[in-house]
Point group: C2
Chain length 478, copies 2
């Protein structure tokens, strides 16, 4: 990636301090901010507009697969949360409890949903009687609360926005198919829209979701070499169904439990966009997710005809792209800097000379390449530039991930890589949690996933030397 060595005021260089760079970009690009409510943030217009685009894109893809949206309560009575043993153990320590309604204490306390499996189960137990009622493929867009001790904007906060899909099926096969289908929706969305390459795979038992039979995940690599779990899809088998009594009469007139799945993606993807694509000048938004795709900056604005021509260009391009015109009284240099901080994919500079020559200059945010375009061709050309930028951003992110993915076949080598080279480490594993624990303790890495695309790097477990079962992606994670 073309490195920008210019220092932008208020943004720490990412090579100096990546965590501080991240916080600076979040703040300078006006994406979100802290509030008086400890651990909770406000998502500001520039951040929320990205989330709206994520919602729009995902929701469309969900609906194409038959998903219907619903809305369930935000509260879970304690007795309901406790119905599935593994699930309550996983979530009870990190929920917020409501104990009073109005002036009176509640008879039973309720938590604010950290996730809604229990509520959907309770709902499905009433809704589902016959095989004719299946499948149920519901989703909701909402906020959830998890009482985290340490928080970071978008990546970890006490309240966050997400979608959670919850489905019920007649057969185990159908549930498994849906679980994988939704993982693929997430993976395609990340790659095609966010320009973020992902590794698809299965979580180990240790890392799977509380109450799940199997958790599928997509894992992406941030610029600093840390991993980010970017979307998960869980197959619950009939565990929840048995705990909640969700059963249906099948075609043979027998009463049997349903098979369930759930899957979610959150506002942390905004953090992923920042950490995969951003640079020392600020945010860089992939064109397909950018709320504004091009910012027109008129040069020598006071000169006759410049503003008119700029407004005309805005109207023309506005029919095809999301366009803004900065006609404020700031200097062009200031406007360039703001457009760069905010990550607007392209800017169009146009001054009296350009107008004379019937042209404008398109500047790509990622490479800073300046492209002179005839005003006759700008409508098509801008689209091509945006598409090329989208593709280049994906390829750069992929190249970065590939150059930061290491293979290890010996434990010592593994530990050395983990210490010296931030990134994914691929290594074989026997399947025993003891080895997973030891790798975490000694190398500081967690298992990210057992990828669908397996390779036999060695026949032995990297940790204990016993026969290996799976190749695993390991890493330090957000």
């Amino acid at each position: 990636m073309a490195k920008d060595k210019k220092l932008v005021e208020g943004i720490t260089s990412m090579d100096v301090d990546f965590a501080q760079w991240y916080t600076d970009v979040v703040k300078k690009a006006e994406l979100c901010d802290y509030t008086s409510v400890k651990g909770c943030m406000v998502i500001k217009p520039a951040g929320y507009a990205i989330w709206e685009n994520i919602q729009k894109e995902l929701d469309r893809r969900f609906k194409e697969t038959g998903v219907q949206n619903v809305y369930l309560p935000m509260f879970i009575p304690e007795s309901l949360l406790e119905k599935e043993k593994d699930h309550v153990e996983g979530f009870a320590p990190e929920v917020a409890w409501v104990t009073h309604g109005g002036l009176e204490p509640l008879q039973e306390r309720m938590c604010v949903r950290p996730t809604s499996e229990t509520l959907f189960c309770d709902f499905y137990a009433k809704e589902i009687q016959s095989h004719r009622d299946l499948p149920k493929v519901y989703n909701q867009w909402c906020s959830v609360v998890r009482w985290e001790k340490t928080t970071r904007p978008f990546l970890r906060s006490r309240e966050f926005l997400w979608q959670e899909g919850h489905t019920a099926h007649a057969t185990a096969e159908e549930a498994e198919e849906r679980t994988v289908q939704m993982l693929n929706v997430y993976a395609d969305f990340c790659q095609d829209v966010l320009a973020i390459p992902v590794v698809k795979g299965v979580k180990t038992d240790k890392e799977k979701f509380a109450g799940a039979l199997r958790t599928y995940t997509i894992e992406s690599l941030m610029h600093d070499g840390k991993a980010l779990q970017s979307g998960t899809s869980h197959n619950f088998g009939d565990g929840f169904a048995k705990a909640f009594g969700i059963q249906y009469t099948n075609k043979e007139n027998k009463l049997v439990p349903v098979h369930q799945t759930s899957w979610g993606m959150t506002t942390r993807m905004i953090g992923a966009i920042i950490m995969v694509h951003g640079d020392d000048s600020g945010l860089v938004l992939p064109p397909r997710i950018a709320p504004i795709q091009t910012m027109i900056v008129p040069i020598a604005m006071h000169k006759e005809g410049v503003l008119e021509k700029a407004a005309e260009l805005k109207n023309k391009l506005g029919e095809l792209y999301s366009v803004a015109l900065d006609d404020s009284d700031k200097s062009p240099g200031w406007k360039f800097s703001e457009q760069e901080i905010k990550g607007i994919p392209t800017r169009i500079e146009m001054g009296p000379k350009d107008i004379e020559n019937n042209q404008c200059i398109v500047v790509r945010r990622d490479t800073r390449e300046k492209i002179v375009v005839s005003l006759d061709d700008i409508e098509t050309k801008l689209g091509e530039i945006l598409e090329q930028m989208q593709e280049d951003m994906f390829q750069r992110a992929l190249a970065h991930r590939e150059s930061h993915t290491y293979d290890a076949t010996e434990f010592e080598e593994f530990c050395k890589i983990a210490e010296e080279k931030p990134g994914f480490i691929r290594a074989m594993w026997c399947g025993d949690q003891a080895c997973e624990d030891k790798i975490k303790e000694e190398a500081g890495c967690t298992s990210r996933c057992m990828p669908f695309e397996q390779e036999e790097l060695s026949t032995k477990c990297i940790c204990c030397g016993r026969p290996a079962k799976k190749m695993v992606y390991w890493g330090k994670a957000y």
Copy 2:
């Protein structure tokens, strides 16, 4: 309105028991349902799809006026809620309190937002320093919680979905302008999209929002003659700004408080649609808000070519309208009944004879009128039918309101109307809360609003006989 005397199984006639009719329609049309969480409901796919359309339409109209969306935390620390005296008095008795986070008690308890004025104020106090930071015109889509004792689907529940806009302005004039502008957005939306006529006006001091200087409202009349507050817009003046210290340096370099507004519309509008347009066969959705605008029901489906032709019609119409095809193995009569219960505006019947004659039959949900349409013209004709239906529904609702709006000039007359004739009563008022209280006590009516369009029905207050200041709409309300 053409009355349907056919009794639909499971739906009580509205003339027999309106409240039960309402509950039956909500249930049979599968809009929402009760849950194990007391006082909270689940909004099912058919109900949520209506809400999504409401969101889409309102959000577009908001953005055209410069509104930007944001997201603020769902929790309000108690000390923050208490900063504005009138506001806390209004809301404290009906909030849900979070007292524990994870396994530990909180240092300060927090309520789940019943509305977010205090959070926005806290946010704006940090964000606004200079006149250059103004105006702020922000909105959020979220859920809020009010600990109601008695609840009804959509109309009153402990948690409901809404949008809440919160703005800050440099001058009192600009705030007032925004307050009225948003009331007009709501009124136009109700009339143009939901086909619900509204009365625009100002709330009395007794009925205004806790902490507001002035509350504007749109009031609509349900089929049973009860009023429904359908959207409100509040001008706060600088009261909150002073309590929260939201001040800015104006162009004269003086530090002055901002002027604020807020405005909201909720899922109760789904209740309004049901109660304004529904009939004894179920829901009737105005075409512009209906998730599905036409349902194709093939007749004699097993006959050669029928299903193919129906699918072809669906594809053709699907480019212009929201169309579904019911090709399930139920009988046509059953399908008609389902389409009617769900309120789908039109159905298209098409059997072998129709296909032979190159025609289909469009049946309007509201009037049950059957219209034979040539398959060559169906694309345009269906649009005309839907538009006509939209207009007719509005006109019927308006006629109903007008025939259920009564004028009174004597107190005894007022009480008699209130007892015998459900609807709005227009009467003069002196402006004294004592009279408002007496009218509530003796006639059971609350003041709905002081309409923008005033008329002098008499010179004296209906209650005390002293000089009248305003004409007021009174009514029994949901």
